[in-house]
Symmetry: C2
Subunit: 189 residues, 2 copies
C-alpha cells in the first residue's frame, strides 16, 4: 500500500525510517472511479494526492465554456489542484480522476505540518515544484509556436501514455485544440 510512496521519497532524498514512517502515516488510501471529482471550481482544495495507480487531471473551464487541461499526473506522481492548495483559496481548477485510480490522500494541514517538521519532506516538495515548473515551461515552449500536427508528435514523444489511456477529448484540451481537429490530425499521421 505504501511501498510506492516510500520509494518515491527514498529516491528523492535521504530519509531515515522514522521520518519515513511519520510521513506515510498521514496518507490514507482512497479508491476512485473514472471521472470522480476530487476538487471542483469554487472549493478550496484541502488535499494532496499520491497516485499508486491511475491518472489525475486538472482542468479549467474557459470563458467559452471549453475545458482547458493544465496538468496530467500518472502513477508514482504527486498531485493536487495546486494553485488552490498552495494559496489556500477557492480553486478555478477541477481535479478529477481520468481513470479508475488508487490514491493516497494527505490533508492540507498534515501536509504543511510535515513540510515544517521534516526537512526531507520539504526538500521533496520543493523538487516536485521545480519539476512541475520545468514541465509547464516545456509545454509553453512546445505549444506556443507549434502547429497542431507538431504538438501531437510532441505528446507522442514525451507523454505517449496519455494518447493510449486518456480520452481524446481530454488530450485535445491539453494540446489546445478541439477534439475534431485532434481527430483529423490523428488521421493524417
Amino acid at each position: 500500500m505504501y511501498n510506492q510512496l516510500e520509494n518515491y521519497l527514498k529516491e528523492r532524498t535521504d530519509i531515515n525510517d522514522t521520518s519515513l514512517q511519520e510521513v506515510t502515516s498521514h496518507f490514507k488510501p482512497l479508491k476512485t472511479k473514472r471521472n470522480e471529482v476530487l476538487c471542483r471550481t469554487g472549493q478550496v482544495c484541502k488535499n494532496f494526492y499520491f497516485i499508486n495507480e491511475g491518472c489525475l487531471r486538472m482542468y479549467e473551464i474557459d470563458n467559452k465554456g471549453n475545458e482547458v487541461t493544465g496538468y496530467f499526473a500518472l502513477e508514482d506522481q504527486i498531485m493536487s489542484a495546486i494553485t488552490s492548495f498552495v494559496l489556500n483559496k477557492p480553486s478555478r481548477d477541477f481535479l478529477v480522476s481520468a481513470e479508475p485510480s488508487n490514491l493516497l490522500v494527505i490533508s492540507r494541514d498534515s501536509f504543511f505540518k510535515l513540510i515544517d517538521t521534516i526537512p526531507e519532506f520539504r526538500y521533496v516538495y520543493n523538487q516536485f515544484m521545480e519539476f512541475a515548473f520545468i514541465h509547464s515551461q516545456m509545454r509553453i515552449y512546445s505549444f506556443l509556436g507549434m502547429e497542431g500536427i507538431d504538438k501531437l508528435r510532441w505528446v507522442m514523444e514525451h507523454e505517449p501514455k496519455l494518447l493510449t489511456r486518456i480520452s481524446s477529448k481530454a488530450v485535445a484540451s491539453y494540446l489546445g485544440m478541439t477534439n475534431s481537429t485532434l481527430s483529423k490530425l490523428r488521421a493524417q499521421l
Copy 2:
C-alpha cells in the same frame, strides 16, 4: 544596493539579521545594457539573479528559428535560466536583459549552499517555485484556448508593464503570435 533584496526576503519569511547578512553577502552587483546575454543555449547557467531595476527575459529558439519567450521578470523579482540552473545541465534557453538592468548575482554553488544552511532561504526559494509554477499554469490556461485579441487583453490586464517597456517582438513571442499579428491586433483595440 541590497535594500530591495533584503525587503524581498523579509516580506516572505521571518529571517534574523545574521542570516539576512549571510544571504545578501553572497550577491554581487552587476549592471547590464539592453539585450546583454547572461546565459546562452548550450551553456550551463551558473548564476541566479535578483533584479534591482530592469527586466530579464528567458526564451528559446524553436525549430522554425523563431523565438519563444518563456518568462519575463521585472524589478524586485528573482530569476535565472531556471531549467538549466536547477538541473545543472546545458540550457536550451537564452537569458537576456530586455532593458538596461541593475542586478545582483549569486553563483550556483553559493545559492545551493545557502539553501542547505539557511532554512528561511530554502523557504523563499520554494515559494518562488510555487509562484513560478502557478504563473506558468495561468499562462497555459490563458493562452491555449484564447484568440489573439483576448491574449493581448490578458497581458494588458495582468502584466501591463510588458506592453509599455518591452519590444513588441518579444511580447509577441510571449503571446505565441508573430509580431505582425500583434501589430494588427493592437490597431484593432
